[in-house]
């Protein structure tokens, strides 16, 4: 791994941890509502720097953020790790398998969907074990997940475009000077 990659992973992880921590402080008007803001950073990492960077950033984020919040190795940690990994794997695979079929927004939706599916499955097997409870709550969670997924996808797309534009400007400045 190059030094530049390590720096990128460190900076992106720091952003992701900050967003994850900030989100855990927000009061939620509806139970089960989570914005999934950290997924913005995962998505930016995936699109700009590839799957390995995105995976590293996700792993570092879920472990460190849970230590900061105080949920490390608890139920919330297991759910957030499972959700984070499922989402980054699904987005990475989708990007590889269907190259330009889905845009950033579509990838974000897929990430949100698999995040929620993984969490519901984990919650069923590890904690709840009542299939009725899972079936009742699933559609609500998937609906909220799709809405936040769209919002995060739009934010990620704007972020990616601006970052690419800045990069291009930087290169042009170097050439001109």
């Amino acid at each position: 791994m190059q030094l530049q990659d390590k720096q990128r992973i460190a900076i992106l992880s720091a952003y992701a941890i900050a967003l994850h921590g900030f989100e855990s402080l927000l009061p939620t008007p509806i139970p089960w509502l989570k914005l999934g803001l950290a997924n913005i950073i995962t998505l930016v990492a995936l699109v700009l720097y590839g799957f390995r960077t995105a995976l590293m950033v996700t792993l570092i984020r879920v472990v460190l953020a849970s230590i900061f919040i105080g949920t490390f190795l608890g139920p919330a940690f297991i759910l957030s790790t499972g959700g984070g990994l499922a989402s980054v794997l699904a987005m990475g695979l989708t990007m590889k398998a269907f190259k330009s079929l889905f845009g950033t927004v579509g990838l974000s939706l897929i990430g949100a969907l698999f995040h929620n599916l993984a969490q519901l499955t984990l919650a069923y097997y590890l904690f709840i074990q009542r299939i009725e409870a899972i079936l009742i709550i699933s559609p609500f969670i998937l609906l909220i997940g799709s809405l936040t997924g769209i919002a995060n996808g739009i934010i990620s797309d704007i972020l990616i475009k601006n970052l690419l534009k800045k990069d291009r400007e930087k290169i042009q400045n170097v050439i001109h000077s």
Binding site: P31, W32, P75, A76, F98, S100, L101, F102, G103, T104, V105, G106, L109, I110, L113, A123, F127, I128, Q129, R130, E132, A133, L135, I136, I137, S138, P139, F140, L142, L143, S146, I150, I154, D157, I158, K161
Partner: protein
Amino acid sequence: MKETIKNTTLADRLLFLLLISLSVAGIFISRDALSQGSEVVIEVDGKPAYTLPLYEDRLVSVGGSYGDTLIEIKEKKVRVREAHCPNQICVKEGWISKGVIVCLPNKLIIIVGGSKKDEQLGIDAITG
């Protein structure tokens, strides 16, 4: 932002429509499937701890890993009145007359259902 929305691919839009319609349909289907119950079942750690009639007002205190949780039954509705879990999701759910309240930290599940419904949800058949 306008540009981003304009730049979404056809697959993006179809996926969004599919997800939204599936989940909205799911909400209505699960609502229909749950008829109003007459019994409150309180489960701790996956095992049924109490079965109480919904029409009898009372307060129940159930122990869990975060101390005692106070469950209130009143006017054919149930709520978690007091819990010591960190996120308080169960308390915020408020009064329910059907469905489920789950408190993950305390491993506590409150199910409102009828004894009739439990039979319907049972196993239809077992094949070898």
